[in-house]
């Protein structure tokens, strides 16, 4: 029979929970925002409802920056019995995910397709906020249980958001494919977790790493477990063998959600991947045991190379811009994995910086795609012909963002790739060939990215129509700011890279 613990023990539990609450304010705020939006949706009536809800979400998400900024002053540590970690690394991702949620809302407000397709927008914004909560928890979770719950929250919200255009068959197909792949990969991940739990009898990742270091482990089980867990994480980041969902989902989902998935969901996957593999899995001290010369790092190398080659090569044949960007996002997952492989502070810094740059350029590119499809109603490459003269600013901005995605100077994307490759090279000759593959595939990407400006500026429109297509003043301003930022951070990247370096401190990390 279970005996209730003594009063003193219960008091200590209550005090731990109470003290944990103080470190949890942004998440509580976001949860209240999530529920508040649902109630606001029910309370509001009238024509301007979707606009009001969108702005309320935007302001609400912006408000959370205040609470996140206060966390810098707090001591890094574990809370809620090791379920949840507060450190600079988690705070970085909190900023990142809240900002990406805001960007998704901005793109949604700009997207005209929502007016025509969607009757009720209330759930949409609530689910965007729910996804932010899930991703914030993914970056801060330090327990297998929390990791799984947070991933499921992100996935569930994403399934519904990607199928939000219910009458659009492609959108429904996207949601269904996403759901099926997601279910399988989280099932595999749970198998991996259960193997880890079997070896250590712990679910907290710090304790797992201690157990594994103390008692040793069977390399066969370890490789099997990491392989299965990588299925779950690889699905989230959209890396090569687990990428099958991404082109269809990116094409079918509403464009703001495509951008949201490609940036935020991927970043959440990387946040988790870095924390999990850097902390839970033993490494670094001695050449750790492996079987047949394969350890989990080799798995990452294979995934990374395959993603870079596959994503960039297949993108060449794409005729739809969203699909093209989907394949390019697979390739970017490969580049980001290169930074993970480095396994030190420089690598983490490079990954964080690359995520920041990817945030800027990818969101901006999708924003322009939304604006263009508002005007032309299409996302195929052929319909971009001659758009350069009709929407000059949009054309110029998109070109800048694509140059940044390729990784050419003077843009922020160049600095991101530079940091990844230099981090690789700092590890010595071992990884030169990886960096070489990275550079070569970037050259391939130049071809397909430049197809878009080629169509816009150098090819004549199929149906000559001299009318210029003005996307509106606010959108023009937004594009201009994003374009300037992309170039500005390409030239003066010091603050961003400092921020990334400062944020690479993970709690409980003995690696560096």
């Amino acid at each position: 029979m279970f005996e209730l613990p003594s009063g003193a023990e219960i008091q200590s539990i209550i005090s731990i929970l109470k003290s944990g609450l103080g470190f949890f304010i942004p998440e509580i705020y976001l949860s209240i925002l999530f529920m508040g939006l649902i109630i606001l949706d029910l309370a509001l009536k009238g024509r301007n409802k979707s606009g009001i809800l969108g702005w309320a979400t935007l302001i609400g998400l912006g408000g959370s920056f205040y609470f996140i900024a206060q966390q810098h002053a707090m001591q890094a540590g574990e809370h809620f019995f090791g379920m949840y970690v507060l450190d600079e690394y988690a705070i970085f991702f909190k900023y990142f995910f809240v900002a990406s949620g805001m960007f998704a809302v901005v793109a949604t407000l700009a997207d005209r397709k929502f007016d025509a397709e969607v009757k009720s927008i209330g759930e949409y914004y609530a689910l965007v906020v729910a996804m932010v909560i899930g991703m914030v928890m993914m970056a801060a979770a330090s327990d297998l249980l929390m990791i799984f719950l947070a991933m499921e929250l992100v996935s569930l919200s994403a399934y519904i958001l990607s199928g939000y255009f219910k009458r659009d068959a492609r959108s429904s197909e996207a949601a269904l494919k996403y759901l099926v792949y997601g279910a399988v990969s989280s099932g595999l991940m749970l198998y991996g977790f259960s193997l880890i739990y079997g070896m250590t009898a712990e679910t907290n990742i710090l304790k797992i790493s201690m157990e594994l270091a103390d008692h040793g482990y069977d390399p066969l089980v370890m490789i099997l477990a990491t392989l299965l867990i990588m299925a779950g994480f690889g699905y989230k980041i959209g890396a090569f063998p687990f990428h099958f969902w991404s082109p269809d989902v990116y094409e079918g989902a509403p464009t703001p959600i495509t951008a949201y998935l490609s940036v935020a969901s991927k970043a959440a996957g990387f946040a988790l991947l870095l924390r999990f593999f850097y902390i839970a899995v033993p490494h670094g001290v001695s050449p750790y045991e492996d079987i047949l010369g394969i350890d989990w790092l080799t798995l990452l190398v294979i995934m990374s190379v395959a993603s870079m080659i596959y994503g960039n090569v297949v993108a060449i044949w794409q005729k739809n811009v969203k699909r093209l960007l989907a394949y390019s996002s697979i390739a970017h997952a490969g580049y980001l994995l290169l930074g993970v492989i480095v396994m030190d502070e420089i690598g983490t810094q490079a990954v964080l910086f690359y995520l920041l740059s990817y945030f800027l350029m990818n969101y901006a590119a999708f924003y322009v795609v939304v604006l263009i499809s508002n005007r032309t109603g299409s996302e195929t490459l052929d319909d971009y012909r001659g758009l350069g003269s009709k929407m000059p600013l949009a054309g110029a901005a998109l070109t800048v963002f694509l140059i940044s995605l390729v990784g050419l100077p003077p843009t922020v994307g160049f600095i991101g790739k530079l940091m990844i490759f230099s981090a690789l090279l700092s590890k010595g000759a071992l990884y030169i060939w990886l960096a070489l593959i990275g550079v070569l595939t970037s050259v391939i990407s130049l071809y397909y990215y430049m197809l878009i400006p080629l169509n816009m500026f150098l090819r004549e429109s199929l149906e000559p129509n001299e009318k210029s297509l003005n996307p509106g003043f606010l959108a023009q301003l937004m594009m201009a700011v994003l374009m300037i930022l992309t170039i500005w951070f390409g030239l003066f990247f010091e603050p961003l890279s400092e921020f990334a370096r400062y944020s690479s401190a993970m709690f409980g990390l003995s690696l560096y």
């Binding site: 279970f2 219960i10 007016d115 009720s120 759930e123 689910l127 009458r167 079997g198 009898a201």
Partner: protein, 173 residues
């Protein structure tokens, strides 16, 4: 658990679980597959009882039989011409699928039988676990518990959205 009666009952339930699960996969009749799932779920609930997880066993019955199986049956019954459809995919990767299945099975079995690094849990369960579950949920696992509530709320909202009749936008352009 060395009692031969226990062992016999355990293998009985294990066999029910495995065979009904196999029937779910191999049956051509989707309704039979769904009903066969009933026995799989009950077999699994019985295996939970053997792990002295009585609460989990009943939860398994409530959630899977009362929720998921009924949902599945409703889905099948409300789909037109489901009995006429041949349950086969167009693309059958039989050979790679078999290899993958056998490979994973071999790897898992090999791992389970050759590894002796499994860590026994420090709490050996005796009798019922329901009080302990209640206490732990409200103390150590309170954060995942609250997290699950947000997850379920999001799922509920999404389900309500997807199920709602929606005949288009408010202001057509």
């Amino acid at each position: 658990m060395s009692n031969p009666t226990y062992t016999a009952i355990f293998y009985l339930f294990a066999a029910i679980t495995v065979f009904s699960a196999a029937f779910v996969v191999f049956s051509r009749n989707v309704i039979y597959s769904a009903f066969s799932l009933l026995f799989t779920f009950f077999g699994i609930a019985a295996l939970y009882v053997f792990l002295s997880a009585d609460f989990i066993a009943v939860t398994q019955v409530v959630v899977y039989v009362g929720g998921i199986l009924v949902l599945l049956l409703f889905g099948v019954m409300f789909t037109n011409n489901i009995m006429d459809t041949d349950l086969k995919t167009d693309v059958l990767h039989a050979i790679p699928g078999t290899f993958l299945f056998l490979g994973i099975l071999a790897a898992l079995l090999f791992t389970f039988y050759t590894t002796n690094g499994w860590m026994p849990s420090d709490t050996q369960l005796q009798g019922s676990v329901v009080e302990r579950i209640g206490f732990e949920t409200m103390s150590r696992y309170v954060l995942p518990f609250e997290m699950a509530s947000i997850l379920l709320l999001a799922a509920l909202i999404g389900a309500a959205f997807l199920a709602r009749y929606d005949n288009g936008g408010t202001n057509e352009h």
